[in-house]
């Protein structure tokens, strides 16, 4: 104890001297990658926005096939994760091996900056073509549509379109996640603002209804289920889960179509465990991994594993799937507009 404290004290003192001498520019890379010398077990670090229980199940299932890979998970909202990655880039190297988070646009940015390993998973042919990056930097792992959800004990006739949400009848009744925090919400804001029949005008009308802006999708679904805000905009799997538990909540698929994110996975080029990282990505889209996704109420990215109970198949719902590049270019401005209007 004493020696380690002294070592720390000495190291810190040295650094203090450097800091106080005003040495501003050099951000010395003192990061020492934790050595795996202890055993042949490799540690794989995954940054993800998956809910904690879900990623825990995924890691456990992956561990059955790969007992020598120790997966360490860091879970946070997509916004938190991208900030963390940005901080780590300035501080030294990215700590994560695998990135599994909401929207493809983030991955496009990373790929453009050369941060990702080019890798197309083993089973790519079996997957929906929309979710596989043509350049091979990332692959979608589940389909997560954003829908309208409503509390069945408060609302008798649910809204059937996005347009209807801007109806003054829903003033003070709405709740939706914050695009600053939720990657899916940021993507949705971009899709809405680039969809001709909605656009910024509709967003402005929606803001007139004074919706509660919850931090992310989790609290949003809770607010709807408890009836605090009986109508809301939220990802569909949360609604199915709450309904299965017995909450008075149901979904309404809007007539204009639903935007969806594909929760892509990619591998950072800084990784020291490329093999383990590839195995993890392979597992996510494998038959086994996708069966698990279905058990977790997600719509899968392959057609041979069925769909969750009560969920429609992809061809039963209208999809808003605009050009990725358009959405990507519009996203920052859309989030800014959203912040001006709602926050």
């Amino acid at each position: 104890m004493h020696t380690s404290r002294t070592t720390l004290a000495l190291a810190a003192l040295g650094a203090a001297a450097v800091t106080l001498a005003g040495c501003a520019g050099t951000s010395g890379d003192t990061e020492s990658a934790s050595s795996d010398a202890a055993s042949e077990t490799t540690t794989l670090t995954v940054y993800t926005s998956e809910p904690q229980e879900k990623i825990d199940e995924i890691v456990a299932a992956f561990g059955e096939d790969h007992p020598n890979v120790d997966v360490e998970v860091f879970r946070a909202g997509t916004g938190d994760l991208t900030t963390r990655v940005a901080t780590e880039r300035t501080a030294g190297e990215i700590q994560a091996d695998v990135f599994l988070a909401a929207d493809a646009a983030t991955f496009e940015d990373y790929a453009a900056e050369g941060l990702l390993v080019e890798y197309t998973p083993a089973d790519a042919d079996a997957l929906l073509t929309d979710v596989v990056d043509p350049e091979g930097y990332y692959v979608g792992t589940r389909i997560i549509p954003t829908v309208i959800a409503y509390n069945t004990s408060v609302i008798d006739a649910p809204p059937e379109s996005w347009q209807e949400l801007a109806d003054p009848a829903y003033a003070d009744q709405l709740v939706m996640p914050n695009p600053d925090v939720s990657g899916a919400a940021a993507y949705n804001a971009a899709v809405w603002s680039t969809t001709p029949e909605l656009g910024d005008e509709w967003l402005a009308a929606l803001a007139e209804n004074n919706p509660v802006i919850a931090d992310s999708n989790g609290p949003t679904s809770q607010a709807i289920a408890t009836g605090a805000q009986p109508v809301g905009v939220v990802v569909d799997y949360l609604v199915r889960e709450l309904a299965a538990q017995g909450s008075p909540i149901d979904v309404s698929y809007p007539s204009e179509g639903v935007p969806y994110v594909s929760q892509p996975a990619g591998i950072f080029a800084d990784t020291d465990n490329e093999e383990a990282a590839k195995a993890f990505v392979d597992f996510l889209v494998s038959e086994r991994g996708q069966q698990l996704a279905v058990e977790q109420s997600y719509l899968p990215v392959r057609s041979d594993v069925g769909t969750p109970e009560g969920a429609p198949t992809m061809d039963e719902i209208a999809i808003l799937s605009p050009d990725l590049e358009t959405v990507q270019n519009a996203q920052d401005a859309a989030v800014e507009t959203f912040r001006d209007l709602f926050l």
């Binding site: 104890m1 404290r5 720390l8 004290a9 190291a11 810190a12 003192l13 650094a15 203090a16 800091t19 106080l20 005003g22 951000s27 010395g28 003192t30 990061e31 020492s32 670090t45 940054y47 809910p51 904690q52 229980e53 825990d56 360490e72 998970v73 860091f74 879970r75 946070a76 909202g77 916004g79 938190d80 991208t82 900030t83 780590e88 300035t90 501080a91 700590q95 994560a96 509390n151 600053d180 925090v181 919850a214 931090d215 992310s216 999708n217 989790g218 609290p219 949003t220 809770q222 289920a225 408890t226 009836g227 605090a228 805000q229 709450l242 538990q245 017995g246 909450s247 008075p248 909540i249």
Partner: protein
């Protein structure tokens, strides 16, 4: 007095010893302790000031959202501190100076909010007064709108008050013990009623204690993260602590560390200004000899029963209701289902207890709290003993430096360590959290060691010196041993505080170093309310049980 003889008898040798002081064992020990203080206190503050220092970002402080958050912070901190002083002082007066029925039980219950981490309290109160709490649902059924929702400014102030009045109670109770009740007795004999006696005699004598507890509470509440984040944000009531978190976590601003450092320095200055006021006003306070007269309790007369009942109800509302709410939230099958026997299940509790994240968080918290307790215990013992038993400017400065962080809001300490992290190679390691814990909690041990030790005469130590022990030897063999129990209880306090801490770790967490507080906070944020409630319940019950056992053993 005779023990002083050897020194005065031989002034020459005394001077020689004085000259040697710089190199003897005590000098070396002082040097080591100074080095530790430099690392854990001076270094983070310096880093903060250096990063904020160039003044280029002052203009960002005048931006709308920073100004608004600053205003919200100041209002919620001072308002809650004011209410806490009123409530805490009333409780202390009733419990210490009157014949209220059931005082022992009341005191213990009234202190329990101190044992519940503020963010756990926030999660619990959502179940009592959230928009869909049973009361609000019932009210909405009857009148069309909820009665009162805890979200927003009023809720933040209420919860900050609830979680800080016990501190005021402790400070005022201690001060009351120093005010001789014969003064009050004299006033009563001269014909003053009980209320008049309190207002005219007791309260003026309490003024320094009231002011210093007000400042202590206001500075603490200025930095709280859990309550404004869980209760304030849904109504977009942003305080500096939650704004700092947003700046750091969601990448909405350029150069977040620089701006946050600037905010941190401003908060630091505000907190220091408070301390200066406290010191200046405190110096003008009345010092009275402790009276040996048994406290004469004021008879409440006919009001005794009704006042007693009112206080029991209030205290039970504040302490037991949150636990009931947590239990309900944990057991309810799904959000939105009515509260009925068939809708209760143990499933969520079982899921929560099996959650790997929470278990890892708990293990990390235990480890970090244990290490922080050991480091703070050892350093605090050393600093406390050196401060109390040796003289000179260097030593006084040592105590002042070690206790300075008490005046620094946790969020500022976290930011300071965040700035240092990459340079020290601590980025993304749990040691970063440990370092911040040591900065924050070292003062707890120093104070519990130094105060009682200063009050005991140093004759035993002088005897050891006469018997030929070196200064260091005498210090370690005599003073350290005497102070060891105080250091131990200080270290336990550090461990208990650190194990369920949120404000520091939420900003310093990294993969694999999540703490229990952050794990619960994340469950809440991700919408897993039942899991968050289950763990909050566990933390609250274990905390209360632990302190309950500790106080029972003492009694």
């Amino acid at each position: 007095m005779t023990t002083l003889a050897p020194r005065t008898a031989d002034p020459a040798s005394n001077r020689v010893r004085g000259a040697r002081r710089r190199v003897d064992g005590v000098g070396a020990l002082t040097g080591v302790l100074w080095a530790a203080c430099a690392v854990f206190v001076a270094l983070p503050i310096a880093a903060l000031i250096v990063l904020a220092g160039d003044g280029r970002r002052i203009h960002t402080l005048l931006q709308g959202d920073v100004l608004e958050a600053a205003l919200n912070s100041v209002v919620s901190a001072t308002a809650s501190a004011f209410f806490a002083v009123v409530l805490g002082t009333t409780f202390a007066l009733l419990l210490d100076r009157t014949d209220l029925p059931g005082r022992g039980g009341l005191r213990l219950l009234a202190l329990t909010p101190l044992l519940m981490p503020p963010f756990v309290g926030a999660i619990a109160w959502l179940g009592i007064a959230g928009p869909t709490s049973p009361v609000n649902l019932w009210w909405r059924e009857a009148f069309g709108a909820p009665l009162w929702s805890i979200y927003g400014a009023d809720g933040v102030i209420l919860l900050l008050t609830v979680h800080s009045y016990p501190i005021v109670m402790l400070v005022v109770s201690a001060a009351l013990r120093r005010i001789p009740s014969d003064l009050e007795h004299a006033a009563r004999i001269s014909g003053a009623g009980p209320l008049r006696t309190v207002v005219a005699v007791t309260l003026p004598l309490l003024r320094p204690a009231l002011l210093s507890s007000f400042i202590l509470v206001a500075v603490g509440n200025l930095a709280d993260f859990g309550i404004p984040s869980i209760i304030g944000l849904p109504e977009r009531y942003v305080t500096l602590a939650t704004l700092v978190y947003r700046y750091l976590q969601s990448g909405t601003v350029e150069d977040p560390l620089g701006i946050v450092a600037t905010i941190g320095v401003v908060v630091l200055l505000v907190a220091l200004a408070g301390l200066v006021v406290d010191a200046v006003v405190g110096r003008g306070g009345h010092e009275l000899d402790t009276s040996a007269v048994v406290v004469e309790r004021i008879s409440l007369g006919r009001a005794r029963t009704s006042l007693g009942a009112a206080m029991w109800i209030l205290v039970l509302l504040i302490t037991v209701l949150p636990l009931v709410a947590l239990l309900t939230q944990t057991l309810l099958r799904a959000p939105g289902v009515p509260l009925a026997w068939e809708n209760l299940t143990l499933d969520h509790l079982i899921t929560a207890l099996g959650s790997q994240t929470a278990l890892t968080g708990a293990a990390n918290s235990l480890m970090l709290a244990g290490l922080a307790a050991v480091v703070c215990g050892v350093l605090g013992l050393g600093i406390g003993v050196v401060t109390a038993r040796t003289t000179g400017r260097a030593r006084r400065g040592l105590a002042a430096t070690a206790t300075l962080p008490q005046a620094i809001p946790g969020i500022v300490i976290a930011v300071a360590w965040l700035i240092l992290a990459p340079r020290l190679g601590l980025f993304n390691t749990p040691w970063l959290i440990l370092a911040a814990y040591i900065t924050s909690f070292l003062a707890l041990v120093v104070q519990s060691v130094a105060a009682p030790l200063s009050a005991t005469p140093s004759s035993a130590e002088e005897a050891a010196r006469v018997a030929g022990a070196s200064r260091l030897r005498a210090l370690i063999d005599i003073s350290c041993r005497m102070a060891l129990p105080a250091a131990l209880s200080g270290a336990v306090l550090v461990a208990v505080t650190a194990v369920r801490e949120l404000t520091l770790s939420v900003l310093l967490l990294s993969p694999g170093s999540q703490t229990l507080g952050v794990a619960i906070f994340n469950f809440q944020q991700a919408g897993a309310f039942s899991t968050a409630s289950a763990w909050s319940l566990i933390v609250a019950v274990v905390g209360i049980g632990f302190i309950g056992l500790a106080t029972r053993r003492q009694a």
